[in-house]
């Protein structure tokens, strides 16, 4: 938060947005913040899209806790906090992936474990503040809530480079990952290394979490992972469009957040960023579906599924309406009028 004090003095007085923007960008710390923030937001948006699609939001939560503890453990040990940050998140991410990563089989156990991890982090914090001679009391806040303006040129460049690397890796595995997410059995048969992709992806999410911790903090990174991605999934049903949209929304959140903080210096940057991301998500939720389709009713007009040739071949009088009336989860109960056929009482081929 060291930049904020300086920020208080630098309110832009210009009323012209273009000049205001130029004025903002003339400050090095803003540039550093935007460079790092944009790169990190991009990878958060991209990775977050898959996190939400794969139902692994809980992993993002857990990795946030691990990020906190890893960073503070490193501080307590006297080494660069980023080392602990990345080591812990990548290792735990990979481990979660190995365990099968989808959904909370036992959310009580997971919550307990990661609450303990957070408690461990506070232990390291206390150790650090009592034992370290140069007790930097703001370290805790920096790890919890990030410090986008506190990034030096070097740190910002490093963060950006790492984020670019992570983005490249994610784009490399994008297609197989989507395939493995949507259709795992077929993907395996097609040669996609599904069992490797799972842990690899969560390790990548771990690294993303570590990056995001530097920008918006361990407690808030879940917002940047989940909100833009979920918003994108609401706004479009094309997967690749959604993926890039998610990245765009995340980057927008960072830019808007930084601008807000620049204009109103007492507002912390990480709050502004998360607030924008949340607002975007809320807006997306309220947007009516783009495709005003027939909705989720199971009864659809006959034109919905043209099936005449197939049905005729089967010798039944089923018109397109028959297929339309069926609900895939229904077991063998035709809606045909006249009650012609009841499902075969028993069938050659074995009992159900």
């Amino acid at each position: 938060m060291s930049g904020l004090a300086a920020l208080g003095v630098l309110r832009t007085g210009g009323h012209d947005p273009a000049s205001g923007l130029a004025h903002m960008l003339s400050h090095p710390f803003i540039v550093h913040a935007l460079v790092a923030g944009t790169a990190v937001a991009a990878v958060c948006g991209l990775a977050g899209y898959f996190v939400v699609l794969r139902g692994q939001v809980f992993a993002g939560d857990a990795l946030g806790h691990v990020a906190y503890t890893g960073a503070l453990a490193a501080l307590a040990a006297g080494i660069d906090p980023r080392l602990g940050l990345f080591a812990a998140t990548i290792a735990v991410g990979f481990g979660l992936g190995l365990l099968g990563g989808r959904g909370a089989a036992n959310d009580v156990a997971i919550g307990t474990i990661f609450a303990w991890v957070l408690g461990l982090g506070v232990f390291f914090l206390a150790y650090y503040t009592t034992h370290a001679s140069t007790g930097n009391s703001t370290a805790n806040v920096t790890v919890l809530f990030g410090s986008i303006f506190g990034l030096s040129a070097g740190a910002a460049a490093t963060a950006a480079l790492i984020a670019v690397g992570l983005t490249a890796l994610l784009l490399l595995i994008g297609r197989p990952l989507m395939f493995a997410t949507l259709d795992p059995a077929v993907a395996v048969a097609a040669g996609v290394p599904v069992r490797l992709l799972g842990p690899l992806f969560l390790a990548l999410v771990g690294a993303t979490a570590a990056e995001a911790t530097q920008v918006i903090g361990a407690l808030l990174l879940l917002g940047l992972l989940a909100a833009p991605a979920a918003a994108a999934q609401h706004l479009t049903d094309r997967p690749w469009t959604g993926l890039w949209l998610s990245a765009g929304l995340a980057v927008t959140s960072v830019w808007a957040g930084v601008t807000i903080t620049y204009a109103a210096p007492r507002i912390p940057a990480s709050f502004a960023i998360i607030a924008v991301a949340t607002a975007l998500y809320a807006t997306a939720l309220l947007t009516p579906r783009l495709r005003a389709g027939p909705g989720r009713t199971t009864i659809r007009p006959g034109a919905a599924s043209p099936d005449p040739s197939r049905a005729a071949a089967a010798g039944r009088s089923a018109s397109g309406a028959r297929d339309a009336v069926s609900d895939g989860r229904n077991l063998g109960r035709p809606r045909a009028a006249g009650g012609r056929r009841r499902p075969a009482a028993a069938a050659a081929g074995g009992p159900r």
Binding site: G191, W240, A314, S326, G328, N330
Partner: protein
């Protein structure tokens, strides 16, 4: 009649071919194959042949190993004895030429991905990289166009044109199956493997999908191997039937395999096959496979 079902083999008399020339190489050939899964033997000494252009059903009670057999053919599960030749190569090598429709739960209603995008994944979902929506159209227009054409073709083939652009979670079971069949067909496979595609569909949808598969088998000249619970929807179209039970298999034409004598020999207990007025087959007395308790931590 020995008690060992594996040794009872009704010779596969395939469709009578006009020419005296050699029959085309089989699409799938298993010889004396056994497989283990989770520590116990699923089946042993299974011998079967699926010729190209044939529509073959794989039947049997729950737990008999039908899905496992499919996975052996796909090279996803190893086999302990015998040889497996799929499209002229060992199992698993030529999977790109196989269209696979695994047993799936219906897509979650929340899944907002379009059906057409899921079909598209069948084309190149395994290739590394990430598509950028507009970029591929600019940078590789010919490839993009061809892919689009093939996509439209295959969706038209299965008759899914009206709902392919709808989020797949909102499609009915029958519609989803058509889209997934399109996904399996998009690479012009020589062999189509389907694991209980008619499960959880209602009768009219079953009829529609069965007819579609038959259509594809004939016009696209694809060998079809389909696991089914109930043979009746597909009985009119079948060339061969494989009956898997008690660790062994019997293969032959439906009229020869699904008889009281054959099944009684296969199961070792009295089984009757009856035919009702509408011509449907009813099997009575068929026992389920003995349950194998999976060990802890399965």
């Amino acid at each position: 009649m020995s008690g060992n079902p594996g040794q009872l083999r009704v010779d596969a008399v395939g469709p009578v071919s006009d020419s005296a020339a050699a029959l085309p190489a089989p699409a799938v050939e298993l010889t004396d194959v056994a497989a283990r899964l989770g520590g116990h033997r699923v089946f042993s000494y299974v011998t079967l042949t699926v010729r190209p252009d044939e529509f073959v059903a794989l039947l049997g009670p729950n737990g008999a190993g039908k899905s496992t057999l499919l996975k052996v053919i796909l090279g996803l599960v190893g086999h302990t004895t015998g040889t497996v030749t799929v499209l002229g190569a060992p199992a698993g090598r030529r999977n790109r030429a196989i269209g696979y429709l695994p047993q799936r739960h219906a897509f979650d209603a929340d899944t907002r991905i379009r059906g057409i995008d899921i079909v598209r994944l069948g084309l190149d979902g395994h290739r590394w990289g990430t598509p950028v929506p507009l970029l591929s159209r600019l940078l590789r227009p010919a490839h993009h166009r061809q892919a689009g054409q093939r996509l439209a073709e295959v969706i038209d083939l299965v008759g899914a044109g009206a709902y392919a652009r709808r989020p797949i979670g909102q499609c009915s079971g029958g519609e989803q199956q058509r889209l997934l069949i399109a996904q399996a067909l998009i690479r012009r496979p020589e062999l189509l493997i389907l694991d209980e595609p008619l499960d959880s569909l209602d009768v009219p949808s079953q009829a529609g999908i069965s007819a579609l598969i038959q259509d594809i088998c004939r016009t696209q000249r694809v060998a079809v191997l389909m696991v089914a619970h109930d043979v009746n929807p597909i009985l009119p179209y079948l060339d061969q039937v494989i009956y898997l039970a008690r660790g062994g298999a019997v293969m032959g034409r439906p009229a020869e395999v699904i008889t009281s004598d054959t099944l009684t020999t296969l199961y070792g207990t009295p089984v009757d096959v009856l035919r009702d007025r509408a011509g449907r087959l009813v099997v009575v007395g068929q026992p389920d496979a003995p349950a194998h308790h999976p060990g802890p931590g399965r």
